[in-house]
Structure formats: structure tokens, C-alpha cells
């Protein structure tokens, strides 16, 4: 395997790492938003819940920005085709997400009940909707999207917005919401006490079981989905466009990678283990364990999707031969090399100072602290 192909694989893996980081960190904050109105019955309880992630949501959100930036830099064709093709969904995602910074920053700046209620709903929407879209996007990768390219690679999308909200995508969206609610709940268990802690625990137990069920249904469903198989294409690691390959579509083909390499079954097993382990940890009140097992579940779920689809990234249901793969959608060797260098230097640095920030702000968030701290949300 030559260097370019190795870099393409590396970036495919790194993209997976970034998506797992995104799902874990942003998903946690969004989970808190989703369950905010359930765990927090009084205004003070909601403020406590918000302040558990108050110092971190902004940093966590950068995982999302970085995920987008990495797709743009490493797989520009995916970024261009997916963002424009899923236009309406992307806008709903964006509009719900841009309410979030304001929800955190502005909510507690006024004492009017209507004001705070409005922002609480905004925080719910900005937690729930993006996680549905995130999961549904993965679901649609399995089904393929109706796009094709003109001679100069102008992408043309021929489907409607509603076709993106098909049953399989909604299933994936709900899986994503339940994992995010689980992460949010385990963070609240970790950093809050009393009634909030109790309700978060109940919720974490339910969410993990729901996730197990949804993930299992998804697994069975995939067997009957039409999968894509690359039958002829320029070799990996050669400069190419998506106009030069042929692709077959066959029922159950998304399981070919697992059948060919049985070791890969460990990836979905990891997902199930994370969810079930998370359930146990939540039941026993081991909040930190629950959080890390939730992150493991995310790694297993996203890994499963990646492994099943490989080498496809965004299959085309309109013209399967123009499907986007790791080999035809990636950046040039030079860009991938530079970006790898930057990632190797900065990702460890980011993890280090993010951990330090969590360390500085460690400990339980209490109502009396929030009420007496003028910097609190």
C-alpha cells in the first residue's frame, strides 16, 4: 500500500475519532438540553443542570466545528455534496444549534419566568433536533442519497427533503438521541446531587436500554437493506474522480465487511457492551463509569457504521457508480499530510487542556453556589 492510500485510511480513522469526540462531548451537552425540563423541575434545578456543563459547553461545541472542518479539509467532496444535498435538514440543524450558545449565555440574565421558559424550550430544541439529525444522517448513509455529478463535478441533488426522514433514518436518529440523553444524564449524575441526580439516574437507565433495543433493531434491519459494492475503480491511492468506477447494489451487502473479516464483529459488540455496562453503572450509581461506558458505546456505534460502509462514505442512490468513497472523495496527499501533522500536534494538546479545564471545574454543582455566583448561568 502506498503512502497516499495509507494517509486516506488514516484520515478515515481520524474522522471516526473526531465524530466519536463530537458525539460524546457535544452529545453530552445536547443530552443535558434534551432532558433539562425533565430533570429540573424548579428554576434553580435547571440552573444547576446547566451549570454542570456551563464552563465546558463552548469548548465541547468545537468538536462539532472541528468535525465539520475536518470533513471539509480531508474529504471536500463529502462536505460539498452532503451539506448542499441535505440542505433543509442542515439548516434545521444549524438553526437549532445556533440557539444553544444564546440559551446558555442569555437564559439566566433575566428573571422573568416567560423569558427563562422560552430559553429552556430553546435549549431542548437545540439538544434534541441536532442529535436526531446527526443519527438520521448516518442512517441515510446506509440508504444512499439521490445525487449525481455533472462533468465538472458540480453535484446535483434530485431527492426531496422528506425522503431523508425515512423510517430507518428516524430509527438511527432515535438511537443517537437516546445515547446523547444517556451521556447528559450521566454527567448530571456526576456533577449534581439530590433530586436532579435521582431523576438523571432513572433517565440514564431507561435511555441505555432504549439504545440497546434500537441498536439491535438497526442491526437486523441492515441485513435487508440494499448495500453497495465497489466492483471496479482506480486503485486506492491514485488521483481520481467519482466518475470512473462501477458499483453494484445488493441486499445485505453492508454486512460483507463483517463476513469477510469476522474480527470486526467486535466493533458492534463494543457498542452493546458500552450500553449494557452503562446501564449497570447507572443502576449502581457509578456516574463516572457510566459516562465512560457511554463514550465506549458511541465509539462502538459510530465504528459499526464506519466499518459497514467502508470504503463508501456517501453512496449515491441515484447513480450508484458515482458514490463517494474514501479513495475518490479525499484531499490530495499534500493536504492530508499537512493536516495529519497538525492533528498529531494539536489533538493531544486539546485533550490535555480540556482535561485540565474539567479538573479545575471539578466537583458537585450545588444550588446555593449557583444562586450566589454572579458568573453562573
Amino acid at each position: 500500500m502506498d503512502l497516499y492510500a495509507a494517509l486516506q485510511i488514516t484520515w478515515w480513522l481520524l474522522l471516526g475519532v473526531l465524530l466519536i469526540g463530537l458525539a460524546t462531548m457535544v452529545g453530552m451537552d445536547m443530552g443535558v438540553g434534551t432532558i433539562l425540563r425533565y430533570v429540573g423541575r424548579t428554576d434553580l434545578q435547571r440552573r444547576v443542570a446547566l451549570n454542570t456543563i456551563g464552563p465546558h459547553w463552548d469548548g465541547n461545541q468545537v468538536w462539532f466545528v472541528l468535525g465539520g472542518g475536518a470533513v471539509f479539509a480531508a474529504f471536500p467532496l463529502i462536505y460539498a455534496t452532503a451539506f448542499s444535498g441535505f440542505y433543509v435538514v442542515m439548516l434545521l440543524l444549524l438553526w437549532s444549534m445556533i440557539m444553544r450558545p444564546l440559551g446558555f449565555e442569555y437564559r439566566s440574565k433575566m428573571s422573568s419566568r416567560a423569558w427563562r421558559e422560552t430559553w429552556d424550550w430553546a435549549l431542548f430544541v437545540s439538544g434534541f433536533v441536532p442529535m436526531v439529525v446527526f443519527g438520521a444522517a448516518f442512517g441515510n448513509l446506509f440508504l444512499g442519497a439521490p445525487f449525481h455529478f455533472e462533468w465538472n463535478l458540480t453535484s446535483v441533488y434530485t431527492g426531496s427533503f422528506l425522503s431523508l426522514l425515512n423510517p430507518f433514518a428516524i430509527l438511527c436518529g432515535l438511537l443517537s438521541v437516546s445515547l446523547s440523553a444517556f451521556m447528559g444524564a450521566s454527567m448530571l449524575m456526576l456533577r449534581a446531587e439530590g433530586a436532579i441526580h435521582q431523576r438523571a439516574r432513572t433517565l440514564a437507565r431507561g435511555a441505555s436500554i432504549l439504545a440497546v433495543v434500537l441498536f439491535a433493531i438497526g442491526g437486523v434491519w441492515v441485513r435487508s437493506l440494499r448495500g453497495f459494492v465497489l466492483t471496479a475503480a482506480p486503485a486506492p491511492g491514485t488521483a481520481q474522480t467519482p466518475l470512473q468506477q462501477s458499483v453494484d447494489v445488493a441486499s445485505g451487502a453492508w454486512l460483507h465487511n463483517f463476513i469477510g473479516h469476522p474480527l470486526l464483529w467486535l466493533v458492534p459488540v463494543l457498542g452493546f457492551a458500552g450500553m449494557l455496562g452503562g446501564h449497570l453503572a447507572a443502576t449502581r450509581g457509578r456516574s463516572l463509569w457510566a459516562w465512560w461506558l457511554g463514550a465506549t458505546a458511541w465509539a462502538g456505534v459510530i465504528g459499526t457504521a464506519g466499518v459497514a460502509l467502508f470504503p463508501f462514505l456517501l453512496p449515491s442512490s441515484a447513480v450508484p457508480a458515482q458514490s463517494l468513497t474514501v479513495w475518490n472523495a479525499s484531499s490530495s496527499q499534500m493536504t492530508l499530510s499537512w493536516m495529519l501533522g497538525f492533528a498529531l500536534v494539536f489533538v493531544p494538546l486539546i485533550i490535555w487542556y480540556t482535561s485540565w479545564a474539567f479538573y479545575v471545574m471539578r466537583g458537585t454543582v450545588r444550588g446555593e453556589h449557583v444562586a450566589s455566583d454572579e458568573h453562573a448561568y
Partner: protein, 521 residues
Amino acid sequence: MHDLNVVDLSRLQFALTALYHYLFVPLTLGLSMLLAAMETVYVVTRKPIYRQMTQFWGKLFLINFALGVATGLTMEFEFGTNWSFYSSFVGDIFGAPLAIEGLMAFFMESTFVGLMAFGWERLRPGQHLAVTYLVALGSNLSALWILVANAFMQSPVGAHFNPATMRMELSSLPALIFNHDAQAKFVHTSIAGFVTAAIFVTGVSAFYLLRKRHVDLARRSFRMAALFGVLATIGVITLGDALGFVGAQAQPTKLAAMEALWTTEKAPMPFNLVAFPSQSEQTNHGTLQVPYALSLLVTHSLDGSVPGVDQLEKDAVRRIHDGIPAVTALKTLSANPSDATALQQFKAHEKDLGYGFLLERYAPDVTQATPAQVNQAARDTIPAVAPVFWSFRVMVAMGLAMLAFFVMAVIYTMRNNVQDKRWFLKLAVWMIPVPFLANEAGWLVAELGRQPWTVYEMLPTWMSASTHSLGYMIFSITGFVLLYTVFIVVEMYLMVRAIRTGPGTSPGFGEDARLNPAPEA
């Protein structure tokens, strides 16, 4: 093919969202640095007033910051959602600085901003100061990488077209980073942010001094911001000149539009102080000129000359003709990447490919283009002159006004009698909108002046947009206008309220006791 109405609406939407985002960014860039300066004084002298200052301005900083972050997300989405061909065509180059921005700058800024707001009681003063500096550095580094990306659109260096992948690819990252346009533009933009923050702080401080409230805090803030502002304004104007000098070489059509130069004149060229340009007649009405000034400004010599519109259109016609074989060869290569003759033909005409694309707008089959269509495409290479010309003059006039304001402010504050000059304090309050308008005008000059290209001389704007339906665009523009209007009303309201409440207590702080009557049983 592209619906040209959709292209125009995509441009409108991008301009609206970018201009809106850009209302908040400069204040973040400058105020973070000013906060670091204030906290430095606190850590060195340990006088509580400086801690109070840092916390008070920090509160205003965060109200502004939240909207900057929120609307910044839009910008990252829009390249993909609305400019998909652009994104795939130059993503290999353009995506890199954006991703590096996330890795190097945005993560740092956003992680530490949480500690800056919440860490006062948990960090030692020195640690907190370091955190504040990291926020300031992070926000300015963010600006650096964004402007490196933007500079590529203005002056595409360090890249080449690869026919095997049908897109532009990176040749040299250092060339991209040290692009002269990126350097001058980063310093100009970052320091313009400093000026914005300085005007904001002097204005709000003046508001307190006029009402004799929080006088200790206001006098100190005014002093710091005035010194900060006068030096920054000098920097902005210097870099504005540098940017003009760089731009004169890299983007002659932008310069011609900025100066409304319809005909090429011999050196030394006069500067059009006032003019009413007419695009259709290609001439100016009612001009007021300063002799020699243009040669001095843009070439830094009396015998320098720059081409006018007449010359530039002639060059464009020649390059469009040269671009035709480039486009036809590329079409052949798209179907058959190993066609050696086509590849040879493409290499010979590669540098004018963008001009060929420009012609495709009027002649989808470029080989059948009529001379009229070629002329039409050539006329397109000149941006809309009047808005660029006037935005530029508005920006410069405001810059000079702010310089005069700050010089006066420094005189008064150093004599320590600014609190007695009520007329000047009133002026300071009225100055608050000026830098924001100047920033927006600067954006308009840079980006309207870049037209008709998204990547100068490489990729025309009309090709860059996503192939959406008109309905989608109306839906999204409506959504943005509604959401953004609500946001700005809320933000302005909270900002004004926080300013009226003043330092000491947070707005709303302590008032929510009635919302939390009794702990849950």
C-alpha cells in the same frame, strides 16, 4: 446548470450572514485583548478596581461572544450548503486553514473562555491571567486562519489545478500562510477589532462619566482604551495602506473599482476624492480629484501607474479566448482522464481556465461563443464600481475620524480632565457605532471588489453556488432573517441592560429568588 437567480440569492444570503457575524467578531478580537491588558494591571498591582474592570467588561464580552460563536457556525455550514461547487473545487486548499483554525485556535479560545468566566474563584490570579491571554490569543489566531483562507480567494497562491481530480490542489502550505494578502489583511482586521473594542470601551465609560457613575472604573477604562485605541488606529491605517499596495498588484480589477478608474491614465495619477461612477457609461460624474495622490497611494511612487477598466477589459477578452481551449480540453479529460492530447492542450491554456468558465455563463458550449458573448463575459470581470468606491471612502473617512477622536481622547485622559469635557464625552458615546460601520464597509470593499470571482481569476462566482431551487433559497433566507432579527434584538437589549446596571452585580442576579421559592421536598 445553475439558476442565476439562485446564485444571486446565495450571494445575498452569504453577505447578510457574514455581515451579521462580522458585527460581533471585531469586538471579540479587541475586547479580549483589552481584558488581558486590564487583568495584567490587576495581577501586577493587585488593586481590586482592575479585577472589577476585567469582570465587568468580561460580562459584556460574553454577551457579545455568544452571538459571535452562534453566527460563526452559520459561516462554516454555508460553504457546504450554498457554495458546494466552490467547496469541492478548492476544498483541498480552503478546508485546511479552516480545520487548522479549529485545531489550533477555536478550541483554545472556547475551552478557556469557560474558565475565564467560571474560574475566578478556582484559579490563582496568575493562572486566570494566563487563561485570559489564551482566550485573546485564540480568538485572534482564529481570525488569522480565516483570513489565510480568505486571502486565498483574493490572491490564490500555493495551489494548482489537477485535471486528474478536476479540482484545485495545494502546492505549498507555507505559501498559503505567508500570502502577502493574508498577512496584511490579518493585521488590518485584527487591529480593526482592537479599535472597535477601544471605541466601545471609551463610549461606555463616557456614558458613566457623563452620569458620574462608577467614576473610578470609567476613568481607568477610558484611559486604557484611549491609549489602546490610538495605537491600534495608527496600525489599522498603516495596514490599510499595505493592503492597498498588495491588492494593487494582486487584484487590479478591485483596485480599479475602488478608485473608479475607467480609463488608464499616465503617471502621476490623480485620486478621485469624490465621484459618482456610472457602470453603464463607464465614466464618472462630478469628480473631485487630488492630483498625484493615487500614484503615491497605490504604488508608493510618483511615476507608478495602474490599469483602468478599459485596459483590464481588453486583457480579459484575450484571456477568455485563451480559456476556451482549456475548458474544452478539460471536458475531454473528464470523460477520459488518460487522453494525452487533451492533457497537453489543457496544460498550454491552464492559467486561463477561470476565464473560460466565465464565458460558460453566456455560452454553455464555449467553442460556439460569439464575440458579443465574449465581450459580455469580459465586462463581467469589473466589479460593481459605485458600491466598492463608496464603501471604501466610508471606511477610510471613518478610520480618519476615529484617529482624530483617539488623539483628542489621549490628550484629555493624559491631562486627567476628560471627566470635565462633557462635549467630548457625548461625542465618545456617539462614536460607538462608527467602527462597526467601518468594519462592515471594509468587508464590502474586500468581497464586492473580488467579484465576479470566488477565487480570483480561477473560479467565477456563478459556478460556485449549489444547485438549489428558488424555493429552498427563499426558505433559508426567510429563516435567517427571522432568527437573526430576534437574536440581535435580544442581544442589544441584554447589552444595554448590562451597561445600565453597571459593574458589581450581574443583571438579573439575585432577582430570581422569587422563581425559586422553596427547595423541593
